[in-house]
C-alpha cells in the first residue's frame, strides 16, 4: 500500500461487496490493536460490535451499494481488546481490478461523541419539559366558570391560536350542555392580542354557542379591539356586546332570569 496512506492521520479500510476486508492501513490497525495482516480476509463485521453489524447491513452497505457513497456516518469499531472506538466514516464505491471495492476513511470522534451525548440528553430533557408545559397550558386555558345558574363565563387570557380556540370552543359547548346554560359571556379583557384570526375564532365560538340555543355576550372590548373588529368586518350578528365584564354580567343575568320566568309561565 501507498506509504502516505498507510500512515496518514486517518484510518483506511477497503472491503469487497461480500464483506471481505481487502486493505487496512497501519493507523487503523494501531487504533484497533491488531498486527500486520490480522484483519485481511476477515469479514468487516468482525471489527463491528453487534449494534454496528445490524447498522452495517440495514443502512451502511445499502447506502454504499445504491448511492455509491456514504458520508458522515457514525459508527463504533470494535478493537481487538473489546473496546469500542467511536468514528466518523466516509466511504466510496470504486472499481479496482475489475471488481467493486468499498473504500472507507475513518476519523475518531471521541470528544465530539461526549459532547453529542450531552446535547442529546439536554434535548430530551427540554422535550420533556415542553411536553409538561403544553399539558399544563391545555389544562389552564379552558376554564368555564358558572357565575349563577344558567350563566357561564369563558375568560380569554393570553393569546389565542387555532388549537386553543378549538379547545375553548369544545369546552364551552360541553359546558352549555352539561350545565344547561342560557347565556355565555366571552370576556376578552385579558386577551393579549386581537387580530383578524382571533376575531374569527371568537365569532365561530360565539356562533356555535348560539346554535346550541344559548345567548352570547362579548365583553372587555377595548378601543383598539373595537377598531380591529370594525376594520376586519367582524360578523357579530346575534352577539351582544358590552364594554365591561360588569355590564355583560348584568345583561346576562337579566336575560337568564327572564328565560327562567318564561319557562315557569
Amino acid at each position: 500500500m501507498d506509504e502516505l496512506l498507510n500512515t496518514a492521520p486517518c484510518g483506511f479500510l477497503a472491503f469487497a461487496d461480500d464483506g471481505t476486508i481487502l486493505t487496512v492501513n497501519a493507523t487503523l490497525l494501531g487504533w484497533l490493536g491488531y498486527d500486520g495482516g490480522e484483519l485481511l480476509g476477515r469479514h468487516v463485521e468482525s471489527v463491528l460490535p453487534p449494534a454496528g453489524r445490524i447498522f452495517y447491513q440495514t443502512h451502511f452497505f445499502p447506502l454504499l451499494k445504491l448511492h455509491g457513497r456514504a458520508e458522515e456516518v457514525y459508527l463504533s469499531l470494535r478493537s481487538g481488546g473489546g473496546d469500542d472506538v467511536a468514528v466518523l466514516v466516509n466511504a466510496a464505491r470504486v472499481e479496482r481490478g475489475g471488481a467493486a471495492v468499498n473504500d472507507c476513511v475513518f476519523v475518531p470522534m471521541r470528544q465530539r461523541r461526549r459532547f453529542e451525548d450531552e446535547l442529546l440528553a439536554a434535548k430530551r430533557e427540554a422535550e420533556e419539559a415542553n411536553r409538561i408545559k403544553d399539558e399544563l397550558i391545555e389544562e389552564l386555558s379552558t376554564p368555564v366558570i358558572t357565575v349563577v345558574d344558567g350563566v357561564l363565563l369563558g375568560p380569554i387570557i393570553g393569546s389565542l391560536n387555532r388549537e386553543r380556540a378549538d379547545l375553548m370552543t369544545g369546552a364551552l359547548l360541553r359546558a352549555v350542555v352539561e350545565r344547561r346554560a342560557r347565556v355565555v359571556i366571552l370576556d376578552v379583557t385579558g386577551a393579549r392580542t386581537m387580530d383578524a384570526d382571533i376575531v374569527q375564532h371568537l365569532s365561530r365560538a360565539a356562533a356555535a354557542v348560539r346554535l346550541m340555543g344559548a345567548g352570547c355576550v362579548l365583553t372587555g372590548i377595548s378601543a383598539g379591539v373595537a377598531r380591529t373588529l370594525v376594520r376586519v368586518g367582524a360578523d357579530l350578528t346575534g352577539i351582544e356586546v358590552r364594554r365591561t365584564l360588569a355590564d355583560g354580567l348584568g345583561f346576562a343575568m337579566r336575560a337568564a332570569g327572564a328565560g327562567r320566568h318564561s319557562r315557569q309561565r
Binding site: D18, G19, H43, I54, P62, L63, L66, S76, E116
Partner: protein
C-alpha cells in the same frame, strides 16, 4: 381512496406479466433495495414495489406513532396496497422483518397470497434461553437505537416533528435528499423497535400459505439457527441455504437471489 393508498405508500407497478409479485423492503431502507432483483422478473410478472409509511418517498403525514410502533401497522400497509390494486394470487417477497409482515398478512387474508418468499427471515431477534437463539440481547438493540440517533441520514426534522404537528401545512414536508435510508429518530426508531422487540414465534403455526425461507450463510441478523427454527415451525415452508453471506443477498448477491427464487417458483408451478 385507492389512489390515496398508491400515493401514500409510493407504489410503483412495472412488469409485463399478469401474476403479481409484491416486494416488501425491510427495516432501514426502501423499495430501491430490490433494484438488482426485480428486473429479472419483469417479463413474467406484474411487479409491485412500495414504501411503508415513514420510509422512502411515502407520505410522512400519514405516519402515526401508535400504528407504526408494532408490526400490525406495516401489515396493514401491505394489505392496503393489495386491496388498492385488487391483487390476488400474490407472490409476496419480503426482506428481513417484512418476512414476518408477510406471514402476518397471509394469516389475516390467506386467500390473497399464493406464495411467500422470505429473504433473511427471523420471527424473533432476541435470545430466549435456554432454547431459542435469536442472536441479540436487549443491550445490542439499545446500542442500535443509540447508533441511529447519532446518524443524521434522512431525518424528517432535525429538532422537532413539525411535519406531523402541522398536517395542514404541506410546505413543511420537505423532500429528503437521502430518504432512501433513514435513521430518523422518530420514525425509523419506531420501525426499529417494532422490528427488533417483537416476538412472532407463536404466529408461525397459523400460516397457511406455502413459503420459501432464504437463509444466508453467516448472517449475523438472521443466523442459521433461526432458519432451522423456522423450517421446523413454519408449515409448508421450504428452506434454501444460500452461498451469499450477510443479511441482504438481494443487494450483495442478486444473481444467486434471483436464481433461487426462480427455481422455487418454477417448482411451485409444476406442483
Amino acid at each position: 381512496m385507492s389512489e390515496d393508498i398508491l400515493k401514500r405508500n409510493n407504489v410503483k407497478v412495472t412488469g409485463r406479466g399478469t401474476r403479481p409479485m409484491l416486494f416488501a423492503h425491510g427495516f432501514g431502507c426502501d423499495q430501491h433495495m430490490w433494484r438488482f432483483v426485480t428486473p429479472a422478473f419483469e417479463d413474467d410478472y406484474r411487479i409491485v414495489l412500495f414504501d411503508y409509511v415513514g420510509a422512502g418517498q411515502s407520505d410522512l403525514r400519514a405516519w402515526d406513532a401508535a400504528k407504526y410502533s408494532s408490526l400490525g401497522g406495516y401489515t396493514q400497509d401491505v394489505l392496503d396496497v393489495c386491496k388498492a390494486l385488487r391483487l390476488n394470487d400474490v407472490i409476496f417477497v419480503g426482506h428481513s422483518v417484512s418476512s414476518v409482515v408477510g406471514l402476518l398478512a397471509s394469516i389475516r387474508e390467506p386467500r390473497r397470497f399464493a406464495r411467500l418468499v422470505l429473504v433473511g427471515p427471523s420471527p424473533c431477534y432476541f435470545n430466549d434461553p435456554p432454547d431459542y437463539r435469536g442472536g441479540f440481547e436487549r443491550a445490542d438493540i439499545d446500542g442500535l437505537l443509540d447508533l441511529m440517533e447519532k446518524n443524521y441520514i434522512g431525518w424528517a426534522n432535525f429538532l422537532a416533528p413539525t411535519v406531523m404537528k402541522n398536517p395542514e401545512r404541506p410546505e413543511l414536508a420537505r423532500e429528503l435528499e437521502e430518504s432512501f435510508c433513514s435513521t430518523d429518530p422518530l420514525i425509523a426508531r419506531r420501525f426499529a423497535e417494532a422490528t427488533f422487540l417483537s416476538d412472532n414465534r407463536r404466529d408461525l403455526p397459523k400460516v397457511r400459505v406455502p413459503s420459501l425461507i432464504m437463509q444466508c450463510s453467516e448472517d449475523a441478523i438472521a443466523p442459521a439457527e433461526v432458519g432451522d427454527y423456522l423450517s421446523r415451525h413454519l408449515p409448508g415452508s421450504t428452506l434454501r441455504v444460500l452461498g451469499a453471506t450477510g443479511h441482504c443477498p438481494h443487494m450483495s448477491h442478486p444473481e444467486e437471489t434471483v436464481r433461487v427464487i426462480k427455481e422455487y417458483l418454477a417448482a411451485e408451478a409444476v406442483s
